[in-house]
Symmetry: C6
Subunit: 270 residues, 6 copies
């Protein structure tokens, strides 16, 4: 009967294909082993939800600095599940919503998901859903409480749900009581090696020739971006999203790509 239920699901209220594709606009560049590892673990959770009746609800968190690729990875995992109900919950559609409207919108997505035997919900940018501001900190307690309940509310009999949340403010989760809210947490790091950088440059064909590329990488190395600071942290530290923007800006001055990259990546701005 589980298989029956699966077939009966109306895709109508179901998969938001287009929305999901848009957030992966620039594709997934496999610049490092960690990228594949995250995608593989995501697959395992999809399997758990599909097969184990003991855990009808599984929730995971992708966290990492601004622009490290969390949303794109979450959407990619969700799409790969091929579950009949896949939904992206994003603050982009909620500008100007009151607390009550936000809670209602969020609650509706969860309630809708219960109509499908298998569902995955991407809860994107928890900090924005919460109207989070570091000072205070300020946040919508109403939304927070709704999320806390929804992240652990068992779906009705015969329904199963995977929740994939993303955030760039993991460090304040203890203060918000969100620390124990997830079954598992995955870190999405920024780019911090010249090797990964090189991979990206090639992928987006920033340079005319390999020689140009090698020269640029050398220039970055010279600037110390390959080294670690005294604290053992790499001097290179940039999310894939911002890196792609920096690259496009640098492209505007073909004669000075290397210089633009260097100064941008060293945090000197332009």
């Amino acid at each position: 009967d589980f298989m029956n239920a699966l077939e009966e699901v109306h895709p109508a209220f179901g998969v938001s294909e287009e929305e999901l594709q848009q957030v992966v606009q620039n594709g997934i560049i496999h610049y490092d082993g960690i990228v594949d590892e995250i995608l593989r673990t995501g697959e395992l959770f999809i399997d758990q939800v599909r097969t184990s009746s003991r855990t009808p609800l599984v929730s995971i968190l992708l966290h990492g600095p601004k622009g490290s690729g969390k949303t794109a990875l979450a959407a990619t995992i969700a799409q790969a599940s091929q579950f009949p109900f896949i939904k992206l919950l994003t603050p982009d559609n909620m500008v100007g919503y009151s607390e009550g409207q936000k809670v209602a919108a969020i609650n509706k997505v969860f309630t809708d998901s219960y109509k499908s035997p298998l569902s995955v919900i991407v809860v994107d940018s928890i900090e924005r859903l919460l109207d989070f501001a570091p000072i205070g900190p300020r946040f919508s307690n109403a939304v927070l409480q709704a999320l806390l309940v929804l992240f652990s509310r068992r779906p009705p009999k015969g329904r199963r749900l995977l929740v994939i949340a993303t955030t760039s403010v993991r460090s304040v989760f203890p203060e918000l009581g969100l620390s124990d809210a997830f079954d598992s947490e995955l870190h999405v790091p920024p780019i911090s090696s010249l090797r990964a950088l090189d991979k990206v440059f090639r992928e987006v064909e920033l340079f005319q020739s390999s020689d140009d590329r090698r020269r640029a990488i050398a220039m970055l190395q010279q600037a110390g971006l390959g080294d670690e600071g005294e604290d053992g942290v790499s001097r290179l530290n940039i999310g894939i999203k911002k890196l792609l923007s920096v690259i496009e800006m640098a492209r505007q001055e073909p004669e000075a790509v290397g210089e633009r990259l260097t100064s941008a990546l060293m945090g000197l701005g332009m």
Copy 2:
């Protein structure tokens, strides 16, 4: 006449059987003596309410870390009472409620209970009913005050009530003025011994053979999970609820169950 009243009670507004069963979805595994002790003490309070006319109201608190099994145990005690009115008050049904709506819903359950000669109310997850957030802390003072009054408001003549509340934020109760609100408090601990773990593994048939199971336990012991840290606290420290989830995840990779368990239980995530 007390016996008469008992018979006259309409089960209609009474027992929420199904709801209670659902929260004990995975049954009660007797992994440790404390489990039976809690259930036995619960029975005694049921008896007190049934027999003593001097204490028409008795309130107890089950507290312990996230996922230690509080809700399942409270529901189990309540069901065992066989009282004509048994009700689960849970934040799951109150997503998006205003403070006023929450107070009204809670008050109604207590007022309804007064219609039955014998009642038990499970007030589940006080922290969620209170919209509690650690930072501040923030909470609904309106709900708090309602609970404080209801936990000590004598039922009308001839009516008796047992309140079983649960919480995972017992440590902030003094700040909330909830310290003296209960007649008795019972601690529900997390799992912290390999023996208890072994019991659970057997119960859920995680391993194909006893040999496999023993090997996994040995691996966990090797990893230091059987030891105590310098603070005398066991390194193993996991609620039964999360343990069951970890087990189901590990089950997805039959060839590496032990490794998955070890890394998950050591807090390394996956």
Copy 3:
């Protein structure tokens, strides 16, 4: 004419006999001299209101720890006055009231009292009327201000009023500006001697025989409950209300009454 007015009073809006009786459900056990002293002083204030025209308004406060018997004593004093208007103002009837509704309800009782030549109002559990929470602290300033005015607002000509308030948070009164609000304050202590305990045991017939009782008391003494701690404070420290509850719980296991009492009174829970 004062005597005339007295006779004309309609008991209709007057004495809430039943309500008052209910809060003294378990009677007054004279376990210690302080009990009689409090009742005697209460009588004196009743006399003052009845006879002195210079002080048409007298207000007193009964304060002490949770469950020490404040409400029962206040109700007993009020009932003994036999004044034509006796009213219990209690948070029990105000669950879910807004600040405004609370203030209106409280104000109404005071205004009603002005219709009677002689009145006594029991303002029970100020902390609950105030929606008081220790953290912050939070409280309803609207209710606080109403009480501050009402506790010192002279009744109209020819009317006299005794206010008896109770609270278990006397220590925060300075912060609330309630320190000077009363003409007199009476402390209602918890039970702290084995002699008083013994008196209560006898009164509620907890034991089958005097021998059993003596043995239980001896066991409690052995456990150190008769001693004072290093701070000179008795180790025994329990309100009469909770004591009565502990006794009824212990009664459920006739074979182990002494043990249950000991562990409960030593704060080890059950």
Copy 4:
């Protein structure tokens, strides 16, 4: 024409004789020189308003501890003025008012006063008008701002106004911005000498004979109430209002008046 205007005033909306008398219910006892001094200075300000056209608005503040007699003195000064408009602004009539309603009520009294050539307004108990609570502190900023404007808003041409305010929280006025709001401030002290006490006893005829009185005073002296503490502050420290209440309570036990007085005045309660 000023004299004309004076005559035309309709007493209708004017003097609240009865209200003023009620707050001086127990008369003014001249227990100390300071009492006469305050009344005399009050007269001078009345004169200034009556005669000087340069200062159409004069505002003074009577401040002192709880129950020291501020309201009675302010009402006495106001009544003595015989101005066509005399009004008592008191929190007693404003229980349950919202901030807006308070501001409107206060503003109306000031606007009404502008119809009379000569007016005096007693603004009683600023702390209560402000809904002041020490913790925080909390207060109604709306009422505070209204008072700040009204205390310095010039009446229209040809109108003159004396404002007499009272408060027992003078020490927080700097934090409230009320420090410079008055043209002059007068301190109303509590009773702190046995001589003043003796004067009051005689006035209210507490004792049957002078011998009884002298013996009581001797007892109080013995108890150290005539001395100063180490800080040079008299141990005797009680407002006339509370003293009158203590006296009436003591009167209830004719055989032990001295003892009751002693224990009450030493702050031991009863």
Copy 5:
């Protein structure tokens, strides 16, 4: 055409002559050189607005202690401009206004001013417009933000505006973000020399004869009011407004004018 526009202005919505005169009720006494200097600088800003097309908006601030004469000076400068639109924005008319009503009233005055080619607006007592209370501090952020925008919003083409604001809480302007809001700031000091005092006495004819006056001044000198304290600050420190009030009070006792003045000026009250 600028001259044309000037002529077309309807004085109707324009100059509030009477209102301005009233706030200078006691005239301007030239007790010190600083008084003339402030008036002269004010004139220069009037000229700048009249002649320079590069700065269609000029804003200045008069600040100084309570009662130092800020409002009177601002009104005097404004009146002297003879601009077709002169308006006094004062909290006196806004008692009980909500934040929204205040903002609307203020905004309206600015918008009205845009109809005149040349305008001057006196924004009196910013602290009161802001509902400012030192504790916290508390203030209306809505009004603050409106003022911040209006103080720097360029008038429409061909319109020019001078803003003269006054305040006695200049020291908190940095916290409010008001520090850089004005093109220029002028300090209005209190009276601190016996010479200035003497000038005022003569102007208001406090004394019958010059001899009386000289004797009074001598008495004040004797009292140390001519000296500076250890901190180099003059012991004499009083705003002209309060000084005029003190003088009128002293006038009531012709036989003791000098004594009254001395005690009042030394801050001993009366």
Copy 6:
């Protein structure tokens, strides 16, 4: 088709030419190399938006002290783009708006921009849009959250948007969570060299002759305005906006221009 879309755009809801011109009322004076550099970099970002399909959204921040010319420069860059949709979002039009109205107005501009293939929005004075006050700090979290979402919300397919924001409170951006909100940040410094000052004097023809100008500059140098303080910061430190106002004020006294300038620039006021 991109070129087609471009042509189809209706200029109606598009360019706010006049509004933009008004904020550059006094033109752009090229007093320093940094001015040209900022304009050039702005051009590059315009190019990036026009040409790169990988980054349909680019956001930059112009920040610097009060009056340094941020708004004028942002408007100049925007106008130079010649994009079919150019809009100035300014607090000037939002006096008295509620939070909700502000968010709606801001959101509308962004949504409108999505109708044009190429758009630039100047978000002027973020601190005012946020109702920012340093104390607390206080700000509208609703507006902040709307901006945070809008600054990173991808425009629909085929649409591209450049956001140019300005602020003078860059230093509090970390507390507001605005630090990572922009792709790039450009600093707009105040004027701090006599050379730049000289350039401005010449441009606005403050002096009759070059000799006069040189003499004035010499006077400023003498006053130490050419030096650096001990902290290595130039003593001269003034935004171009305020400088232009100071110049116009000084112009009113042709005989003392140099003196007026010196005292104003040294922060001595006038």
